[in-house]
Amino acid sequence: MIGVLLVVHDVVATALLIAISWQAATVWLSQNTHKVLLPNFVRGGVSLSDAVAILILTVVCLGGVLYPTYRISVHPYLELHNLRVANGAFEIKEHFAALAILMVPAYRQAWGTSAAELVLNRRALTTLMCGMIWWNFLAGHLMNYTAGRFI
């Protein structure tokens, strides 16, 4: 069961990573370049932000379900063998996941309107959240590798 959840968590996290990376890249394009390069359905607009918000909630909830298993089976091993970098990377991942889920309302609000004064807000929030999600993705895979390699 945990194995299946881990795979689902990874698949949804990959979808989230692709979606928010795309959005973070497009949000920095000028409005004109934006329109020329990207068709409507993939433009970083409301529909993509809805998808990202749902994916963030899904990934963090799945991570929350898996978290006790990590704390019981993997975390003690990391401490016992002094794998401090892997441990620290995962601790940061926990905080970033919490911050991402707490920022979803502000992120939705920033993308919910096309008001010009929200452009900086949209760019900054999307880029920061993209950075946190990349960290979490890489730290999660580092942990999978560590668990698979040593445990």
Binding site: G64, Y67, P68, R71, I72, R84, V85, N87, G88, A89, E91, I92, E94, H95, F96, A98, L99, I101, L102, M103, V104, P105, A106, Y107, R108, Q109, A110, E117, L118, L120, N121, A124, L125, L128, M129, M132
Partner: protein, 101 residues
């Protein structure tokens, strides 16, 4: 003008940083016994605080979102949300640097 959702996020991320920095979870989860508890328990194994920190942040964010009057929200710049997020990211990195030293 800053919306209530943005206030929730801004207050929430700061409350989360405070929650783990001074260990102020709303509740604890004991995975070995599968129990949630508002108070520390002995003989229940180790506790997971992460859920409780998030719950604390959500509670404080929700209170701020509903309590702050609309006229006060007009004075809160909308860009404070990402500035607050940068602050919280730095706090997390500083707090966790102990693993890398």
């Amino acid at each position: 003008m800053t919306g209530r959702a943005t206030i929730f996020s801004l207050v929430g991320v700061i409350a989360y940083s405070v929650a783990y920095y001074i260990n102020l979870p709303l509740f604890r989860y004991y995975p070995l016994s599968g129990e949630f508890s508002f108070a520390p328990r002995t003989n229940a194994g180790f506790a997971i605080f992460w859920y409780g920190w998030i719950a604390f942040a959500i509670a404080i964010g929700a209170i701020a979102m509903f309590i702050l009057p609309r006229r006060l929200l007009n004075y809160v710049p909308v860009d404070l949300s990402w500035i607050g997020l940068i602050f919280s990211i730095f706090v997390a990195l500083i707090y966790e640097q102990r693993w890398f030293l």
